[in-house]
């Protein structure tokens, strides 16, 4: 598993090299030119912090997807879990604030409620696909479609509008001393608590999968369920655990995005989640089921998204915003085509009956 760390290291090296080239170019080109303006927008620390913020739901969706898929369960329903946790966190916050709970406490309780609801939905999904052997792809799609109906429905019933009222956000945590460091400080040490959580979770998830007993069971359950069964470990239970962890991570993604960044739920169209769960799937395919690489993928896609807002400030560039929105999808299709085969768990999507 140690070799797995080489790829993230390569990516980090490549990233630093790109930054170096950009910095050098920005010294050479005149600042008034379009190139100069674009470089200016790219090398701004607020662009980097925006990227980190935007990456949160995508990265957590990706990590959630990894935990389900590593156990052998295809989880297309990630988007649905994000939607459900986003809405329920807002509902809880509004309810608690009405009951007189102080706003910051209500926000954190709402965050917890969002995660709980997502785990509950994941449990239902798990029972269907593991106990009752639902077709996993279709069941996942169903979870998405149900959430897409339930969320605006509940919002309309409770708030009389598909969009919820605004509830404020968790704000940023400024870490003393470290935040004073130039460039790195404002990016990494004056950020939303959700950004810290993401930066901690990625290596943690990687460690759990690579080095812990649970991680070994999870990988075995997806790659060779029979071996796991022979070793006396229940495949069904391991898979259920994987799906529940998936629910926790998706819950953090949905509620973290809603309470950490947006401050409300938007239920029109594809809801405020708007495909971030699918981007998560795309991110873990890009990252080849490695939590750290997938988070880097999420950051890459988030950087496209954050770039869109910044480049709109430069009138000389008239790039349609849709271009940036679909860029991740195009990138991933190309990656899947040329860069190589993703290491799909061998028993992905197969039902397994424990010999009991």
């Amino acid at each position: 598993m140690r070799s797995e760390l080489k790829t993230p290291a390569k990516w980090l090296g490549g990233f630093l090299a790109v930054i170096l080239v950009l910095v050098v170019t920005s010294w050479i080109v005149p600042p008034e030119s379009i190139t100069g303006q674009v470089l200016d927008a790219l090398l701004d620390t607020s662009y980097a912090s925006a990227t980190l913020r935007v990456a949160v739901p995508i990265a957590f969706a990706a990590m959630g997807g990894i935990f389900a898929e590593k156990t052998g369960i295809i989880n297309i329903g990630i988007e649905g879990f994000l939607i459900l946790s986003a809405l329920s966190s807002i509902v809880a916050v509004v309810g608690l604030t009405d009951a007189g709970v102080p706003p910051q406490v209500a926000l954190w309780l709402g965050f917890a409620v969002g995660i709980l609801v997502s785990v509950g939905a994941a449990a239902v999904f798990g029972v269907f696909v593991i106990r009752y052997q639902s077709n996993q792809v279709i069941a996942g799609l169903a979870i998405w479609l149900i959430s897409l109906g339930v969320a605006p429905f509940v919002s309309l019933v409770l708030f009389e509008s598909v969009n919820s009222p605004s509830v404020g956000t968790l704000g940023t945590w400024r870490i003393p001393l470290l935040a004073e460091i130039p460039v790195v400080g404002p990016i990494f040490f004056d950020a939303s608590p959700m950004v810290y959580l993401m930066l901690i979770s990625a290596p943690l998830c990687w460690y759990v999968l690579a080095y812990t007993r649970l991680g070994r069971y999870i990988r075995a359950s997806g790659d060779n369920p029979r071996a796991l069964d022979t070793a006396g470990i229940s495949v069904s239970r391991t898979r259920f655990k994987g799906v529940l962890i998936s629910g926790v991570l998706c819950g953090i993604g949905g509620a973290g995005f809603t309470l950490g960044q947006l401050g409300r739920f938007v239920g029109s169209g594809e809801t405020s989640i708007g495909g971030r769960g699918f981007l998560g799937i795309v991110a873990y395919l890009f990252g080849n089921y490695n939590p750290i690489l997938s988070t880097i993928g999420a950051l890459l896609f988030a950087s496209f998204d954050a770039l869109q807002f910044r480049l709109q400030q430069i009138p000389a560039l008239a790039i349609p915003q849709q271009f940036f929105r679909v860029l991740p999808f195009v990138v991933v299709i190309l990656v899947l085509m040329f860069v190589g085969r993703t290491r799909i768990p061998a028993a992905l999507g197969e039902h397994y009956d424990d010999d009991e």
Partner: protein, 395 residues
């Protein structure tokens, strides 16, 4: 990756092994259970909502919505008069095309989640082709004879190419078609929005709305009120397409190859069936059908391209799954979902219940149909308790 085909085979195993009778039973049971769960959801929502006069009160508990009344209004809203029936059939027509677009590749063991994108790009191509052709085509009846085929062909061709793309990616690069078709949906919408915004926008209207297609290309209503935008001829055409594909899949050599590839890929390959052909053919055909659906949407319903296409592509998945992916069974299944669409509007207007409940029902139905084991276990339980007797027919 050589293990992918048997994996898919095992993945589909449970659904494929069911007999027609079992499938019909399963689909009906799924719809009934979904309707039941829907009632509970409506009750719960009615309890949480605030209203001036409760529609129902039981044991001192007050509910704003009455589930029985809701379904009654829904039915009435779908079939109550000829206008409502026309709207239901209009949705049904579109869903037949997108449902078929999921069903055909499914028979070959492929998931086409991309009908939405194929539908959107098909509708875009139809709009563009008609806007161009309008300048050179003659007016009157002759114009109609030229423009209607042009519109349908353009939608089918572009939809077909957009279906061929994931098929080719699958065949040549082993890109999983679930992922590629899902992503291509988003890309299609972006392409359409940018194209219409830049080149075909109606200067007099706000937002992404194209200019109107020529009136000669509009598929106008027969027998039904013209405001309902439902053409009986198009419906008949859709039924003809269904029948055609039923024949193709069950009676032709091509259909036999597709079905063998879907159920027994190893045997199919051993028997000389070309995987390349079944993959490319079924995905392209799926795209063509969805694209024609897009063309019909423009020429019969909307008259121009605008953003916010209804999710008929995704609904088509539900329609097809409920129909057990049998082209003939798409008709009742499409009718049900068409009725849910038009009836959903009625419960919103008359009872104030958000029509999104229809989306919940749709998702529940798919989830339950995808879980035959649930009903089988339930049936076994009943049998064990001596409540029902199952004679033969079991595997």
């Amino acid at each position: 990756m050589s293990g992918l085909k048997p994996r898919i085979e095992r993945l589909f195993g449970v659904l494929i092994r069911l007999s027609t009778g079992e499938r019909m039973l399963l689909s009906s049971a799924a719809v009934l259970v979904a309707v039941g769960v829907g009632m509970i959801v409506i009750l719960g929502a009615g309890y949480a909502a605030t209203c001036r006069s409760p529609a129902l009160s039981v044991f001192g508990l007050e509910f704003c919505y009455n589930p029985i009344e809701t379904y009654f209004v829904l039915l009435q809203g779908a079939f109550g008069d000829s206008f409502k029936l026309a709207v239901t059939l209009q949705w049904t027509t579109l869903l037949l095309f997108t449902g078929l677009s999921f069903a055909i590749p499914y028979k070959a063991g492929l998931f086409n989640i991309g009908a939405q994108g194929q539908f959107v790009l098909g509708s875009l191509a139809t709009t563009i082709a008609l806007l161009w052709a309008a300048e050179i085509a003659p007016s009157g009846m002759l114009g109609r004879l030229v423009l209607v085929p042009v519109g349908l062909l353009a939608g089918g061709a572009i939809g077909g190419l957009y279906g061929l793309l994931p098929g080719y990616l699958k065949h040549r690069f082993e890109v999983n078609e679930v992922i590629s078709t899902l992503l291509l949906n988003f890309i299609a919408t972006a392409i359409a929005v940018v194209t219409v915004d830049r080149y075909f926008a109606d200067p007099e209207l706000q937002g992404t709305v194209s200019r109107s297609i020529p009136t000669e290309a509009v598929l106008s209503s027969q027998l039904f009120p013209s405001s309902a935008n439902f053409s009986l001829l198009v419906f008949a055409f859709a039924l003809l397409v269904l029948g055609g594909f039923y024949w193709l899949l069950t009676n032709s050599a091509i259909g036999y190859e597709i079905r063998t590839m879907g159920t027994q890929p190893k045997a199919a390959r051993f028997g000389g069936v070309s995987e390349r052909f079944t993959t490319l053919f079924s995905m392209t055909t799926a795209g063509v059908v969805a694209g024609v659906g897009g063309a019909v949407f423009i020429m019969m319903v909307l008259g121009r391209w605008q953003t916010g296409a209804p999710p008929v592509g995704f609904d088509g998945i539900a329609v097809s799954i409920l129909a057990g992916n049998n082209p003939l069974a798409l008709l009742p299944s499409g009718l049900l979902f068409g009725a849910l669409q038009s009836g959903g509007q009625a419960i919103q207007f008359q009872l104030g219940i958000p029509s999104e409940i229809v989306g919940v029902l749709r998702g529940l139905i798919i989830l339950l149909v995808a879980t035959p084991e649930l009903f089988r276990l339930f049936g076994t339980q009943l049998e064990r308790r001596g409540l029902i007797t199952v004679d033969g027919g079991r595997e």
